[in-house]
């Protein structure tokens, strides 16, 4: 097995956009334009860019949640597009996602215990007692209490909901987790908690993260490698320290210059 757990080669994705008067015309928007990237085992690759740069499209395409218009994604050396439907479904257990909005991504009619257990149920892992035991342990691990199993998502704060989202994804013991702006809806103190939790869990479970974010300060703290996206293309990649200290592209330099808080030293 190679050191890269997930590889994407020449990904292309187009959207048709209605333009012109009353939307009668259409133009093609390249959301992904020959995007290639490699994720090393048990490391974090951050994908940064401004809104509209295609980073969320990339996240969904990597997990085959959206069909590609070109290119292939290799997970542990196997092309996901070549897998038969049943096998792809089995592989999905290893490819999980943590979503941005903890308010929209949890089913309001399901209890937290059911939300976390559902993945195990779908993948047929363990019997009822084992599933319950696993979900409970995971919930406690992410910092919730046993009694929270029987509550509904609306009873929790944003940070706690994000913890539920993390438990839901990690209970399946995935190998690759795509985190799509997991902390951008949270207060800075809660953000720090969640970032630390993600780091700890990565260590414990040897997870490989694709970390999608627009916040370059957050990325500096969590990522090992970084890919900068601009208008559907990856304009710069490299190890995090290298890119932050000596960015090669003008676009990356502009992004780094725009980080707030650089005019004054803070404690």
């Amino acid at each position: 097995m190679s050191e890269f757990i997930l590889k994407a080669r020449d990904l292309n994705k187009f959207y048709m956009q209605r333009t012109g008067r009353f939307g009668f015309g259409t133009t093609q928007v390249k959301a992904l334009d020959n995007v290639s990237l490699k994720l090393r085992h048990a490391t974090t690759l951050a994908v940064v860019g401004e809104s509209g740069s295609g980073k969320s499209t990339l996240a969904r395409c990597l997990l085959q949640l959206q069909p590609l218009d070109g290119g292939s994604v290799f997970f542990q050396g196997r092309d996901l597009a070549d897998l038969p439907a049943g096998e792809l479904r089995r592989q999905r257990r290893h490819l999980q996602m943590i979503f941005q909005d903890p308010f929209a991504s949890l089913n309001p009619r399901m209890k937290v215990g059911e939300i976390v257990e559902e993945g195990l149920l779908i993948h047929g892992l363990g019997n009822k007692d084992e599933r319950l035991d696993k979900s409970l342990k995971m919930l406690v691990r992410v910092g919730l209490a046993e009694s929270d199993m029987n509550k509904y998502p609306h009873e929790f704060s944003g940070g706690q909901r994000q913890r539920i989202g993390i438990a839901r994804a990690l209970v399946l013991e995935p190998k690759v987790v795509v985190c799509d702006e997991p902390v951008s809806a949270l207060d800075v103190s809660i953000q720090a908690q969640i970032l630390l939790l993600l780091k700890e869990l990565q260590h414990e479970m040897s997870l490989s993260y694709i970390f999608i974010s627009h916040d370059l300060r957050v990325v500096r703290h969590i990522a090992d490698e970084i890919a900068v996206m601009h208008q559907g293309k990856i304009v710069e990649t490299g190890c995090i320290q290298e890119v932050y200290e000596s960015p090669k592209q003008e676009y990356t330099r502009n992004l780094l210059r725009a980080i707030p808080g650089q005019k004054r030293q803070m404690v």
Partner: protein, 279 residues
């Protein structure tokens, strides 16, 4: 020093629960030509404080104590009519969501011109040229006056909001998280624009934010709020470089820095509670 706005012992409660203080005993002042940043987490009462200055509190909330003095005049004693003459004329306001605070069926030129007509009685050609001037001032080509909000990007919409709020050359500007919904490069542009306008028009600025990076870049004075109270206030150097309150220290410790050198430390609320020093 010329104090433009003085908030004294402001307390806000829900109308049906007068014992629950959402904003408690908040006092601070804003000077002309200076930017005061109010920082805090969500629910700390920073937006409520701003809204109550403008007299825009929801009917379910009441101000149970305190004064808001604008140029020495207590805003609470003003009639709705008098308040309307101050709002938009002497105090301008910018909201967080440029999407929702612009009217989608009116051109931006009309919306920028509206306060000019209402407050200054500008009409016709004079109005048109003033709107064009304002658009140039915030960095939008003047011919875009006939565009509708949906034809503009998020950053441009926020520029339109700024043009509207400075149209009548107010003495003070209140900006409630003006850049939270924007990309970082656009955020830098908008903050620079606000800072330049503040200097050139000698406005007092009340900027509400949760981002210490923004504070470091634009603030002269800082007010830190926590659970409805002011826990620390001072100049930006004092608060950022030698914070005295444990909450301020804890909040600063969980802000990631651009160099990635500082270890992140989440706030330990239980510890804060036990350490709680009187404010």
């Amino acid at each position: 020093m010329s104090e433009l706005l003085k908030i004294k012992e402001l307390t806000i409660c829900p109308a049906n629960a007068p014992s629950r203080k959402l904003v408690s005993n908040v006092s601070f002042a804003i000077e002309a030509g200076k930017t005061t940043c109010v920082v805090g987490e969500s629910g700390s009462g920073k937006s409520l404080t701003a809204l109550s200055v403008m007299g825009l509190l929801s009917h379910q909330l009441v101000r149970t104590n305190g004064h808001v003095l604008f140029q020495g005049q207590d805003l609470a004693n003003l009639s709705a009519e008098e308040m309307r003459k101050i709002r938009g004329r002497k105090i301008g306001m910018i909201f967080q969501e440029p999407m929702t605070s612009l009217n989608p069926v009116l051109t931006i030129g009309f919306q920028i011109g509206e306060p000019l007509t209402v407050h200054l009685g500008l009409k016709g050609h004079a109005l048109k040229s003033k709107v064009a001037l304002l658009l140039e001032q915030v960095g939008i080509p003047a011919h875009r006056a006939n565009s509708y909000p949906d034809e503009l990007s998020g950053g441009q919409r926020q520029r339109v909001m700024i043009a509207m709020s400075i149209a009548c050359e107010p003495l003070m500007l209140i900006a409630d998280e003006p850049t939270t919904a924007l990309d970082v490069t656009v955020q830098a542009q908008i903050l620079t624009l606000l800072d330049n306008l503040k200097t050139s028009m000698n406005m007092g600025m009340l900027l509400i934010t949760h981002d210490f990076g923004v504070v470091a870049d634009v603030a002269d004075d800082v007010v830190v709020m926590f659970r409805g109270e002011v826990v620390e206030a001072g100049t930006v150097d004092q608060v950022l470089n030698s914070p005295s309150h444990p909450y301020t220290k804890a909040l600063l410790a969980c802000v990631p820095d651009a160099e990635g050198k500082k270890p992140l430390k989440p706030i330990d609320y239980a510890w804060l509670k036990s350490e709680r020093v009187p404010v």
